[in-house]
């Protein structure tokens, strides 16, 4: 269990590294377990938190000498010193296998994905050759090839039927999903077949359906990165179906409370981070999973000036406010209830414009009966 800290300085239109640190704060299992404040099963903790290097400093910054040092995992191991001013990339990014912990952390972070699914990429057919080790790219390329690989690696029918079941929560009348190979030109194309006989290849599917399919494929792909970031999953989704998308995202992440751990086939560390503007999404996620971004004013003694920075506020009475992580030097202040409620309600009197014709919400039958639904 390691902590990576990177502090960048922006001076004269150039960026420098002011501090870089990779440390293991807790050397024993009980301490590690105690300092992960979210809810977890002992099975998960045992599988994930045991073991590790015998040293606890892997990258550190020497302020006086203006250097950043990279350490090997064993006591008395080699050390590599980088002069801070000359660094054009992080020390972590240069770690090789001789520095195992730093190397593993580097590989881990490189596997993190920011999904920016492009409809045009998801609609493409893939070359048959790409099926080996095909994974979904950040833009959704290789959707067909990835599904094809996963179907081969697992039980073919089970794989596709799982996709059908998941997608059926979003789209009606799906009979089957399959990736077919076009023998002439050796292309792989994803097909959706409906109960009424209609067959649609990926290039005729809607944006929302394809995004959902991409996520459903990710759920089943253990080779994908340990962190999936996705922006505004609510876009293009009918309000009533937003819960379906949230559920799918939750399936991608590993549930740390789970008592059944399959080390070989599951990605125990997989997490999902989304951003959203939708109260419908916020309502549906577990309370401790919400962080509200706000701009907050601070005062800097060194430069004798006020400045503004982002703060991420958790909700009150969740594990996030009931603990204070040691490496934060400010007290995390919870979001006040008023801001949360005003946001969930969603109405904004200030920007309202009076219309000549009655608005939908002003109809008598709506006003009277909305509370029943």
């Amino acid at each position: 269990m390691v902590t990576y800290i990177l502090v960048l300085k922006y001076v004269d239109e150039d960026v420098f590294i002011e501090k870089e640190e990779l440390i293991s704060q807790y050397s024993n299992f009980p301490d590690r377990k105690k300092n992960l404040f979210f809810e977890k099963s002992s099975q998960w903790a045992n599988a994930v938190l045991k073991g590790g290097a015998s040293t606890n400093k892997f990258i550190s910054t020497d302020k006086e000498k203006q250097t950043i040092n990279l350490y090997q995992d064993k006591r008395g191991g080699r050390q590599y010193t980088y002069p801070m001013k000359k660094l054009r990339r992080t020390v972590l990014s240069s770690a090789t296998a001789e520095y195992p912990t730093a190397y593993v952390v580097k590989k881990e972070m490189m596997s993190w994905m920011i999904l920016q699914l492009e409809v045009s990429d998801m609609r493409k057919s893939d070359d048959f050759e790409t099926r080996h080790n095909a994974t979904l790219s950040e833009t959704g390329k290789y959707l067909a090839a990835t599904a094809y690989r996963l179907a081969l690696e697992n039980d073919n029918d089970k794989f596709y039927q799982t996709l059908v079941n998941k997608l059926s929560a979003l789209v009606d009348n799906i009979k089957s999903i399959e990736v077919e190979k076009d023998d002439k030109r050796s292309f792989l194309t994803l097909f959706l077949k409906f109960r009424d006989g209609m067959e649609l290849p990926a290039r005729y599917l809607s944006d929302g359906t394809l995004r959902f399919l991409a996520l459903a494929v990710l759920v089943q792909d253990n080779k994908s990165g340990n962190l999936i970031c996705l922006e505004e999953p609510e876009n293009g989704i009918h309000p009533a179906k937003i819960i379906t998308v949230i559920n799918l995202l939750r399936d991608i992440a590993f549930d740390t409370k789970s008592k059944e751990i399959d080390l070989l086939n599951e990605n125990l560390l997989r997490q999902v981070i989304i951003n959203t503007h939708s109260p419908l999404v916020v309502r549906e996620v577990p309370e401790s999973n919400v962080l509200v971004a706000e701009i907050k004013e601070y005062f800097d003694e060194k430069y004798d000036t006020k400045y503004k920075a982002a703060i991420f506020r958790p909700l009150n009475n969740t594990w996030r406010t009931n603990c204070i992580p040691e490496f934060y030097d400010y007290k995390v202040r919870a979001l006040n209830l008023g801001t949360l409620l005003a946001y969930l309600k969603g109405e904004n009197e200030e920007n309202e414009v009076k219309t000549k014709e009655k608005k939908v919400k002003e109809r008598q039958d709506v006003k009277e009966n909305l509370k029943l639904f």
């Binding site: 907050k296 004013e297 601070y298 005062f299 004798d304 006020k306 006040n336 209830l337 008023g338 801001t339 409620l341 005003a342 009197e349 200030e350 920007n351 309202e352 414009v353």
Partner: protein, 206 residues
């Protein structure tokens, strides 16, 4: 004091523009004190309920309660607010009344350029006749005057007035006023500043 969190409870949503004045004053008096500010959006009608809910849902160090003086005296409004405050107070919050004479819009009739910008016509050649500062608190029609000045500065044919957003104009005017120092000539503002200074000094002693 290290930092201050305040909540503004105002008569109406357009009075949110008062936050520009509050923030300017706090920064002017206490330039090293970072501020976190909130506007209480509440549906209750009655002032006592609104005050109670404001500190319940928007916890703060200071609650600013805004009431336009309108046809009443400053003292009368102040007493009204203080009466409800006594019952509503929860922890150790302080309350500061903001009572513009006669209404909020009075405090925005101090800067010509801001009005031109709010009108959408920054280079307007129209002469903007703002009331004299010394007469401002006696002025009977601040809101209508503000709207009219903005319309005049906009200087477009009637159909182009669509570009003019009078609903939000108080915000636009307030945003474009860099300094509210002129308000220090108004009695209602002087009282407000005095209370604010005392309150913050009191809070820093703790």
């Amino acid at each position: 004091m290290n930092e201050l969190t305040y909540t503004l409870l105002a008569d109406g949503t357009s009075d949110r523009a008062l936050m520009h004045i509050i923030n300017w004053l706090l920064n002017d008096l206490f330039p090293k004190m970072p501020i976190t500010s909130r506007f209480a959006t509440l549906l209750n009608r009655k002032l006592d309920e609104r005050i109670e809910n404001a500190i319940k849902f928007y916890p703060c160090d200071v609650l600013f309660v805004h009431r336009d003086a309108e046809n009443e005296s400053y003292e009368k409004r102040k007493n009204e607010i203080e009466r409800f405050w006594k019952d509503a107070k929860m922890n150790n919050e302080r309350m500061i009344p903001i009572i513009p004479i006669r209404i909020t819009e009075t405090w925005f009739l101090i800067n010509e350029q801001a009005i031109k910008l709010a009108s959408g016509n920054p280079n307007s050649k129209i002469k903007i006749n703002l009331p004299k500062i010394s007469e401002l608190e006696k002025f009977k029609t601040p809101k209508e005057t503000l709207f009219n000045l903005i319309r005049e500065a906009n200087d477009s044919k009637k159909r182009n007035m669509k570009n003019l957003d009078l609903n939000n104009c108080r915000q636009r005017v307030a945003e474009n006023i860099e300094s509210f120092a002129l308000l220090r000539e108004l009695s209602s503002f002087q009282k407000f500043e005095h209370l604010l200074q005392n309150t913050v000094f009191e809070l820093s002693k703790k």
